[in-house]
């Protein structure tokens, strides 16, 4: 939660003996014009004149549900030299990478990345620029960091082209989508993304967020940020169901999907529910050759932060074991206000060997680090 300046010396979690991999770090631009070197003059003018046009109506990056903190960030993450949280590589090194001994950090750039913009062409231009910016400002300067291939996901073919450009570049370790797409993620319009990612050997991450253009619940718009945060887990459930039931993993059996910041305690019950109702409805979906839960077990990984908080700590063990200990990846969500401190995030009720895998072992295998 909202910690202030570290009071400890530098320290890596003792259980992270295979390495500490943080799969969710959010780098920010120092200023909106940071992308200009990689945007055409036409798109520079578009960005300056119209800004990001999200499917919620507010301009200037103002979200419809105001965050709990400015920019949803830790109060102590604003760099002393100025700028916004996680816009200063040196301060990110100091506060995160060096502080906790992070061996590999995965960058997930959020807005103004242009993902989910109303204009797919603009979104594609922005995605290219954001990817170049990750290379120039982050991964080439800091070998511990890996980028995510930002794609204009609502345009499948354009996304595939962006993935093909980045295939084989070790600076990138995954493809990044937001969890609220314009249509359920299993629909065929998104298949070019999965096809290209599978071919490039890159997992596809869905990071919680985005605005689909539909009401945020299937019964209309909620009122509160508290609800919006819950809805991240809920829309992620729909995405997992869609990916499975549309047969994405039948079509792309080697595809690896990573759900980031979506929570994970819901995974077992979504799998059980699908299996149970598939029993009566399987005649509708003959393209599924396995039980729905088997695709989830085989093809989908989940990051830790924010971890659901059961009343009894042993219940988190049940939930993790139902998902599979090899499918859970550590994430800090730096620099956001609900950051998970690597030293405190994983319950001591989890055995040291399993914490070792969550801190690093699972991510090393998944990403081939």
């Amino acid at each position: 939660m909202n910690v202030i300046q570290p009071i400890r010396g530098k320290s890596k979690p003792p259980a992270a003996t295979l390495g500490l991999v943080d799969v969710d770090i959010h780098p920010r631009m120092k200023k909106p014009t940071d992308l200009n070197p990689w945007l055409s003059q036409c798109w520079q003018a578009h960005l300056e004149t119209y800004g990001i046009r999200a499917r919620h109506g507010f301009v200037g990056g103002q979200p419809p549900f105001p965050k709990a903190q400015p920019l949803a960030c830790r109060r102590d993450a604003w760099p002393p030299g100025g700028g916004t949280p996680a816009s200063d590589l040196d301060f990110l090194r100091f506060q995160l990478l060096d502080q906790y001994g992070v061996d590999v950090g995965v960058l997930n750039p959020l807005q103004p990345s242009g993902q989910g913009d109303n204009n797919n062409e603009f979104s594609a231009a922005m995605a290219f620029a954001v990817n170049e910016w990750q290379l120039a400002e982050w991964t080439r300067k800091e070998p511990r960091l890996r980028g995510s291939v930002v794609v204009p996901y609502d345009d499948g073919p354009a996304s595939a082209r962006e993935i093909e450009k980045r295939a084989g570049d070790p600076n990138f370790c995954q493809v990044l989508m937001m969890s609220r797409t314009a249509e359920p993620a299993g629909k065929s319009r998104y298949w070019p993304i999965y096809e290209a990612a599978e071919a490039a050997g890159l997992p596809v991450a869905f990071h919680a967020f985005g605005y689909s253009g539909w009401a945020m619940t299937n019964g209309g718009w909620p009122s509160f940020y508290t609800e919006e945060v819950s809805e991240h887990a809920i829309s992620a459930q729909n995405q997992v169901v869609s990916l499975v039931v549309e047969g994405v993993f039948e079509r792309f059996p080697k595809l690896k999907v990573v759900m980031i910041e979506c929570g994970f305690a819901w995974v077992p019950n979504v799998a059980w529910r699908l299996d149970q109702h598939w029993t009566q409805l399987r005649g509708e979906v003959p393209h599924l050759k396995l039980k729905p839960s088997e695709y989830i077990k085989r093809n989908i990984w989940f990051s830790t932060q924010p971890m659901e908080d059961p009343e009894r700590p042993e219940h988190i063990l049940d939930i993790m074991s139902w998902i599979g200990w090899d499918k859970i990846l550590f994430a800090s969500d730096y620099p956001h206000w609900d950051f998970d401190d690597p030293l405190l995030a994983l319950s001591g009720a989890i055995s040291a060997e399993k914490r070792r895998d969550i801190y690093g072992g699972n991510a090393i295998k998944l990403y081939g680090l």
Partner: protein, 350 residues
């Protein structure tokens, strides 16, 4: 007798309206005329496509007459009382006045063709939620008949259930001692997922569980549970296993963001254990994890047995989720329903 339990109470049976002709006798002349002149033959809901396997078990295809229910369920299983929860699409029509007239007709049909024909039956006041005044009016009209034991809405409505424009409806429920039943189903004002329309019915049926999470989140955060502590919320055909994982996250978030909803002054899990009840069909868990799921639920008073007749959730008489411990059955199959529904305890008909 089902699994050795006596006096069992079934909180979710679905009388099926065969077509609009069945309802027209319960409409006034204007609406009867509208149905005929405009050719409104049926308003059956896509929530349960009439021929889909989930909609009716192979041996329960006939479900539009009280005799069907008696022969298939009440008599062979020795059901003492069953609560009717009709799902005809009266809540889906777009015109508020039409919804009011059709819902009224539906409730009167249930009363005349089901309640009046079997003393074991109770029913739900189906609410036209387009206009809270209409919903309150329907509660006031039918609450004097004490065989109506609850009010009933669909889980996916036009606006989230907790929003304040709905509160007069909850006030009326409290006034008459009626739980608010929220049943699976959408009014189709929004896609059944927040990321758009899915392709397959399996996805759509699964999405009910997401709808229940959002709805319960709304009732908690808007303050309905706190404002109306006497109000019982009954989730029907919701599934069960999604509940605690959802609350684990909501309660954690609430600790960090309660500044924006200061009226939520008790932990959400406590509020839910006090005021929310669920039917046990479907349960959505393999038998081996059921004891652990119940341990997480942490309250033996919350689950109520339902056959979900005529929906296909199980075969034969396997109407209790496999893995349910025998020690829970007396509460599950009778005690919890009696504790939830004051009007069931009265045990007398109007």
């Amino acid at each position: 007798m089902l699994h050795g339990q006596r006096g069992i109470i079934d909180v979710d049976v679905h009388p099926v309206v065969p077509n609009m002709t069945a309802l027209t006798p319960y409409m006034d002349e204007f609406w009867r005329d509208q149905v005929v002149e405009r050719g409104i033959n049926t308003i059956a809901s896509q929530n349960y496509p009439p021929n889909a396997p989930k909609t009716a078990r192979a041996d329960w295809k006939q479900a539009s007459k009280v005799g069907d229910l008696q022969a298939q369920l009440l008599d062979p299983w020795g059901v003492e009382m069953a609560i009717c929860t009709p799902l005809y699409g009266t809540q889906m029509v777009m015109n508020a006045d039409m919804a009011r007239a059709f819902t009224r007709a539906l409730n009167d049909w249930t009363r005349a063709e089901w309640l009046d024909r079997d003393a074991r039956l109770r029913a739900s006041i189906v609410l036209p939620m387009h206009d809270p005044e209409h919903a309150v009016e329907e509660i006031e009209r039918l609450a004097p008949d004490r065989r109506f034991v609850q009010a009933q809405v669909l889980v996916m409505g036009e606006t989230p259930a907790g929003k304040r424009q709905h509160w007069p409806v909850y006030q009326a429920c409290v006034k008459h001692g009626l739980p608010l039943a929220i049943h699976a189903g959408s009014c189709f004002r929004h896609p059944v997922t927040s990321v758009g329309w899915p392709s397959w019915y399996l996805e759509e049926y699964s999405a009910q569980a997401q709808g229940f999470q959002s709805t319960l989140g709304s009732l908690i955060t808007e303050g309905v549970l706190g404002k109306f502590p006497e109000l019982k919320i009954v989730l029907l055909e919701s599934g069960v296993t999604w509940l605690m994982p959802f609350l684990y996250r909501l309660q954690k978030t609430w600790k960090g963001t309660r500044f924006e909803i200061p009226w939520v002054d008790r932990p959400p899990i406590e509020l839910v254990r006090d005021q929310v009840r669920l039917s046990c069909q479907p349960f959505d868990a393999p038998p081996e994890v059921v004891p652990r799921v119940l341990e997480m639920l942490g309250n033996d008073d919350m689950l109520m047995w339902a056959s979900d007749w005529p929906h296909w959730q199980y075969d034969g008489d396997e109407a209790i989720p496999p893995g349910m411990p025998a020690s829970l059955l007396p509460k599950l199959m009778r005690g919890n329903a009696l504790a939830t529904y004051a009007r069931l305890r009265e045990g007398v008909t109007a």
